[in-house]
């Protein structure tokens, strides 16, 4: 709902604004937006960006959507310059009691191809501030939105409707397929169970559950990422390696039945210090597929895809948030070797004994990718499938 204005008051404001400032031309805004998009690392172009930011904000409402649109292909640093400018415009318009054109904003929000998710989220919030009916109208159309907050709110909205038996609500199966967050997936799975359906959170999140693990190898805090061994870049399941303390180590089939894919290396490899192990999962893709390999672990990790290192991080025992480590790559058509190296340090504190990880392969929204299977003993199983470990049948 747009606010009503008294014509006299609005005219006075318009005259005052016109007298006070010379409005920026479209070209000025475009140039300023280009300057903001030119900001890169370590403050490069910050000197030009400050004045450009003000030019954009001073241009007011006409610059709002162009600025948000520009977020689409901006680097994350430039995106924040643009996003904050759009936010400042929105705040100024609100203070001046001016509404944005609702239809234009709505079109922007509902076109997931149109702009970066974060920009569409801001547009949604501006729309919501103008029109309390926005959620009821838009959320049912945002169940599969790439913007995580819009998606979550849309699913929560529909889940509430399902629970109350509201007509026209999405099905629980649809909601489960769309959800990307742990708590929400659990909530929908619970509702599915109530109506007698099985829902595997493990498969939903596409956790890797079937591995071959080799180790231990030597690792040391501070060197975990530089002490490399063959299984990372050239995994060969038939090979035997010289591991920690000159012991011979081989790949051993290992599986996890943990709901969130946790593989406990203390259990599988041994309760060791200054050690690392490599876990290999073979993922089959029907076609070339861009994918994220997301890992959670309280230990230092490296992520490899077909021998190429995608990601590495050395941090110990500060948490194991799901998806904290993200490696981005492209799965080739056919079989792919996903290897996670997990390194334990030598801390003796009771809270620093875990040596474990969880890993999943998903799209950029965190959703399962179509056409992927995990190859286990020659069989293709869904990602997240929980079976007995190979060799222990």
């Amino acid at each position: 709902m747009h606010r009503r204005f008294r014509p006299g008051w609005a005219a006075a404001v318009a005259l005052a604004l016109a007298a006070a400032t010379a409005p920026a031309q479209d070209g000025d805004v475009a140039k300023a937006v280009a300057v903001l998009k030119g900001v890169t690392k370590e403050g490069t172009n910050n000197d030009a960006a400050g004045p450009a930011w003000k030019t954009v904000v001073d241009a007011g409402a006409p610059a709002f959507l162009p600025t948000l649109t520009a977020v689409d292909d901006a680097n994350p640093t430039a995106a924040n310059w643009l996003r904050s400018a759009a936010g400042a415009i929105a705040e100024n318009e609100k203070k001046a009691r001016r509404a944005f054109p609702g239809a234009e904003l709505e079109g922007f929000v509902l076109d997931p191809r149109g702009a970066a998710p974060s920009a569409r989220r801001l547009a949604y919030e501006v729309l919501l501030a103008q029109d309390p009916a926005t959620p009821a109208r838009l959320l049912p159309k945002l169940l599969n939105d790439p913007q995580p907050d819009l998606r979550r709110e849309a699913i929560a909205d529909q889940l509430a409707k399902v629970k109350t038996g509201a007509p026209g609500a999405a099905t629980l199966d649809e909601l489960f397929a769309f959800t990307r967050e742990k708590e929400q997936a659990e909530a929908v799975a619970k509702e599915l169970e109530i109506v007698g359906k099985k829902a595997s959170v493990t498969e939903h999140f596409a956790f890797l559950t079937q591995f071959r693990v080799v180790g231990p190898f030597l690792s040391e805090e501070g060197k975990a990422l530089t002490l490399s061994h063959p299984p990372g870049t050239a995994p060969d399941v038939a090979a035997e390696y010289t591991g920690k303390d000159d012991t011979k180590v081989k790949w051993v089939p290992q599986a996890t039945a943990d709901k969130y894919g946790k593989l406990d290396l203390n259990e599988k490899v041994g309760r060791l210090k200054n050690a690392c192990a490599y876990a290999l999962a073979v993922v089959h893709a029907e076609k070339e597929t861009a994918a994220e390999v997301r890992v959670g672990s309280p230990n230092a990790v490296q992520i490899f895809l077909n021998g190429k290192k995608l990601f590495e991080r050395e941090e110990y025992h500060h948490g194991d948030a799901m998806d904290y480590h993200v490696g981005r790559g492209v799965l080739k058509a056919g079989e792919n070797a996903v290897v996670v190296k997990v390194c334990q340090n030598n801390q003796t504190d009771s809270w620093a004994q875990r040596w474990q990880f969880q890993a999943r392969v998903c799209d950029a929204t965190g959703g399962a990718l179509p056409g992927l299977t995990q190859v286990v003993d020659g069989r293709k199983l869904p990602l997240g499938a929980i079976t007995q470990p190979e060799g222990k049948k």
Partner: protein, 400 residues
């Protein structure tokens, strides 16, 4: 009586007419935690003795800062805590002047007690410098115009701290000192306040650390004193060169203070060492072993060292001898650091109750227990005769 009233009226008049002193960073001027202002409040609750209050959009464990009549506060919100907020209020009226938002560009995983709005911003008359635990660093002028912005994780992707960062930036003349001790690309940097570009950046031990750097002037130089796992290192603020290392000054969470020529450090209690131009001069002159806190930093005020700890104890020691004067338990733990002014010590616990002590005495002399009824983890600010207390949802200006 007449003389008392006249004196009180004069004090009040002076307090009302003197310009408000800034509280520009974590623990205020020089990280001392001390305000020189008078006529500070003693008693209040959420409905009484509050000059104004303003709703905050989200949680934060950072402190408010005050500069040139403006109060700046940071918050973080969202399911993933990835929405970063910087707000500016008129210190006199509480009017919200502007509210800017950024998206987190670094990881947001952290201990549930903290959040991405954990570092306290730094401010001066030219605006505010807001650092978040995500490594996002932004400078706004007093009118909310973005002067510059850096994504430190974008610049240095190996930065990592799954517990959550909380060390605060501080100003050293025309430089902003940015602490970024972590398990990955660990560093201390100085960026120019005009454009946010690196003036210098020095490597640091790869270890998480929540200590805020101190700044001191000595022999015509400005030094940045930064405690970490291997001791307290002094850096030349102009170029980042290492000047001296005090190995006994290792720290990880609370921040010390420099009072005159004495460095007080929270090193398993609180110790004090005299500083010369080239670092500590001799052995510690004081050790107060019972002054350990968990998150909060100790306060040195009116000849006493005060600490409020994670088990709900408020303790005081003689600042010269280290002798424990009292250690009394209150009803809830303390995360906020005690602050002092007007002869009082303010200790705000996690439940939002501020215990006001009479400062400079040897007894646990409680003047008031003031309940705001909301979670408080950030240290209060003092300016303009008021205490600025940020809860998890409200900014309170307590005073007249």
């Amino acid at each position: 009586m007449t003389r008392y009233l006249t004196g009180s009226a004069l004090t009040l008049a002076l307090a009302l007419t003197l310009p408000a002193a800034d509280w520009p960073q974590f623990k205020g001027p020089g990280a001392s935690g001390v305000s020189e202002e008078t006529a500070l409040p003693t008693e209040w609750d959420k409905d009484k003795g509050v000059k104004w209050k303003a709703a905050l959009p989200a949680r934060g464990v950072s402190s408010p800062v005050v500069a040139a009549g403006r109060v700046y506060v940071t918050c973080s919100s969202g399911k993933r805590d990835d929405r970063l907020h910087v707000l500016c209020f008129d210190a006199a009226s509480g009017t919200r002047l502007w509210h800017r938002q950024l998206n987190a560009t670094g990881p947001t995983a952290c201990h549930p007690m903290t959040c991405m709005a954990a570092p306290t911003p730094a401010a001066d008359a030219t605006g505010v410098y807001a650092l978040f635990a995500t490594g996002d660093l932004a400078a706004f002028d007093p009118d909310g115009n973005l002067k510059w912005y850096r994504s430190l994780v974008g610049d240095y992707p190996a930065i990592t701290n799954q517990v959550g960062m909380a060390a605060s930036p501080v100003l050293a003349k025309d430089k902003l000192i940015v602490p970024m001790d972590n398990d990955g690309d660990s560093f201390l940097a100085a960026v120019d306040t005009k454009y946010g570009k690196n003036v210098w950046k020095v490597g640091r031990p790869r270890s998480i650390n929540w200590v805020t750097p101190l700044v001191r002037e000595t022999a015509g130089r400005t030094e940045v004193l930064f405690a970490g796992p291997n001791g307290l290192t002094a850096y030349d603020a102009d170029n980042g060169s290492k000047r001296w290392l005090y190995k006994e000054g290792a720290g990880a969470i609370p921040t010390g203070s420099v009072i005159g020529d004495t460095l007080f450090l929270p090193t398993g209690g609180v110790s004090a060492v005299k500083l010369g131009p080239d670092g500590p001069a001799g052995a510690p002159v004081m050790k107060a072993k019972e002054m350990a806190s968990r998150h909060g930093s100790p306060l040195v005020y009116r000849g006493r060292v005060y600490a409020a700890d994670g088990n709900g104890f408020i303790a005081a020691a003689d600042a010269k001898t280290g002798k424990t004067l009292f250690k009394e338990r209150k009803k809830a733990p303390y995360s906020a650091s005690p602050v002092g002014g007007d002869g009082k010590v303010y200790c705000v616990n996690e439940k939002g109750v501020t215990t006001v002590l009479k400062a400079g005495t040897d007894e646990f002399d409680v003047l008031a227990d003031n309940d705001l009824g909301e979670e408080v983890l950030g240290t209060p600010a003092i300016s303009g005769g008021c205490l600025f207390i940020r809860t998890d949802k409200t900014l309170f200006c307590v005073g007249r």
